[in-house]
């Protein structure tokens, strides 16, 4: 039984989200919307389109650099989750072998192009999701969700989850370490041990919830919790939205890569 090192990763992204940069100061609603629209645009490219996707890198690059987020951390995570997409995508070059184009005399099948397209889409969408949370605190995102009219009970419960996530991860970690210290490498009935561990953790969790509830009652709780609204839309936010979406629209409808390539080719002649 092992505990994923992912535990430490949540803390890392959480830490990054408290920085103070231009990007961090943008309204979370705006970042959420723009990122979502970005993903929609990227994903809307048909399967054989590859060059059209390239200019879209500008958005994650912007978030990364202006948000002062280390490239390595993001790259590692993207790599870590890539197997599933790779596994599903690899069927494309295997099954779709009709040659679509030749590059420098080498025939390239449609399958390879669509496979690469999937990879690029994957990198773009996954990195954007990570950068979104790294550049916007989780609290900010929850505020955005509530303002976007998601049910309050859902948002409150998201906040509680996040609040106690670290506490529970640590508790779980400690339990596992204690168990490992007495296991001496034996891997006997892991499932049974797992059931025991989880059950005890569950009981402790419910007891914790009861204590929290008592603490809430002790401070006058009567059913209502308010989520503080910290952000207001400013000029920068509007500029950001308009210019980003405008840019995405441009990239989606005009193949910048081809245009630039043509321009260069012409001037070279």
């Amino acid at each position: 039984m092992t505990f994923d090192a992912e535990f430490f990763n949540i803390g890392y992204l959480d830490n990054l989200s408290y920085k103070d940069t231009f990007v961090h100061r943008l309204d979370p609603r705006v970042k959420l919307l723009v990122s979502f629209i970005f993903i929609m645009f990227v994903v809307s490219f048909p399967k054989y389109d590859l060059s059209g996707l390239i200019p879209f890198f500008i958005y994650p690059v912007f978030l990364l650099t202006a948000g002062d987020i280390p490239l390595r951390a993001i790259a590692k995570k993207v790599l870590f989750v890539s197997p599933f997409a790779l596994f599903v995508g690899i069927f494309n070059p295997l099954l779709d072998t009709d040659v679509l184009l030749t590059l420098f005399g080498i025939p390239i099948s449609g399958g390879w192009i669509s496979f690469l397209s999937i990879i690029v889409k994957f990198i773009l969408t996954v990195s954007t999701a990570l950068l979104l949370i790294a550049a916007t605190s989780f609290l900010g995102l929850c505020e955005a969700l509530e303002r976007l009219k998601l049910p309050r009970i859902f948002v409150i419960q998201l906040l509680f989850l996040y609040r106690y996530l670290f506490v529970l991860l640590e508790e779980t970690f400690r339990m596992l370490r204690a168990k490992d210290a007495r296991s001496f490498g034996k891997r006997g009935s892991e499932i049974k041990t797992f059931i025991r561990l989880i059950s005890i953790l569950l009981v402790r969790t419910v007891e914790r919830a009861e204590r929290i509830y008592q603490a809430m009652l002790s401070r006058g709780f009567r059913g209502e919790i308010k989520v503080l609204k910290r952000h207001r839309l400013r000029f920068q936010d509007l500029v950001f939205v308009v210019s980003s979406i405008g840019l995405f629209y441009l990239f989606r409808n005009y193949n910048i890569v081809h245009i630039l390539g043509e321009v260069v080719e012409r001037s070279l002649r």
Binding site: L139, F160, R163, A215, S218, R219, G220, K226, V227, L228
Partner: protein, 259 residues
């Protein structure tokens, strides 16, 4: 602050599964008194505390706070007067930021945004944590969590402070800061603790609980220096009074003089 009295008259309490935890507790605490509650594990300290702000209701006997008897209807009212600080700060800091945690109480009391804001600022200043107001609780040290937990209760301006093991997770420096803080408060204080040195430092009066009953009730300095009394109740002298260090020190000095 009006002159509130906390009074328990023959309080009994049993848990739903039948365990009898309190077997007839009676005492009176006057406004401004600071009382330490000591006793072995399982003696009933925490249960007693929880009967003071309505988390539990006595199965027999009465708890009154300033003439108001504690029952289901008056619970909410009493909670405005009795501030309860839980043993584990994590249980008490459940909001996304320190500010919102401290604001939780006053907001529930119905104050306006400005009033809430003022109370939060005062409470955080009182515990020296104003600079932490935008932090999420999971980014606080244990000592900071303790301090903020106190602030969450202070923001409600309670008359009586009830604390369950306030220093149990603190490092020496934070513990010292907590003790200094508590000594500054003029509220009525009831502090349950294993840390007998803390009780000696902060409280004038001490009540010892054993097996759900009061075993002793008197000035802290008398009770906590009475070795036999403490032994009978599965306790020990406060560490600072145990002379171990002093004896070693004297012995060392004697050794050095010989050289």
């Amino acid at each position: 602050m009006s002159h509130h009295i906390l009074e328990l008259r023959d309080v009994h309490f049993s848990y739903p599964d039948g365990t009898v935890a309190l077997k007839g507790i009676s005492f009176r605490i006057l406004h401004g008194e600071s009382v330490g509650l000591a006793g072995a594990n399982g003696a009933g300290k925490t249960t007693l505390l929880m009967n003071l702000n309505g988390q539990f209701l006595p199965t027999r006997g009465t708890v009154s706070i300033g003439e108001i008897p504690l029952n289901k209807r008056t619970r909410q009212e009493i909670r405005k007067k009795v501030g309860f600080i839980f043993q584990r700060p994590n249980d008490q800091l459940f909001m996304p930021t320190v500010y919102e945690d401290v604001a939780f109480g006053p907001a529930n009391l119905g104050f306006s945004q400005e009033q809430v804001d003022e109370r939060v600022k005062n409470a955080l200043e009182m515990v020296g944590c104003l600079h932490l107001s935008h932090r999420p609780p999971h980014r606080l040290s244990e000592g900071q969590k303790s301090a903020v937990a106190i602030a969450t209760v202070m923001a409600m301006n309670p008359d009586i402070l009830v604390m369950d093991e306030p220093a149990s997770n603190l490092d020496p420096k934070s513990r010292r800061q907590l003790i200094n803080l508590l000594k500054k408060f003029e509220h009525t204080k009831i502090i349950a603790s294993h840390d007998l040195d803390l009780i000696l430092d902060v409280c004038e009066r001490c009540i010892i609980i054993k097996d759900g009953r009061i075993a002793a009730d008197g000035p802290a300095e008398e009770i906590l220096l009475n070795k036999e009394l403490l032994d009978e109740n599965n306790l020990e002298l406060p560490l600072s009074k145990q002379n171990v260090f002093h004896e070693n020190f004297r012995a060392m000095k004697a050794l050095h003089r010989k050289d």
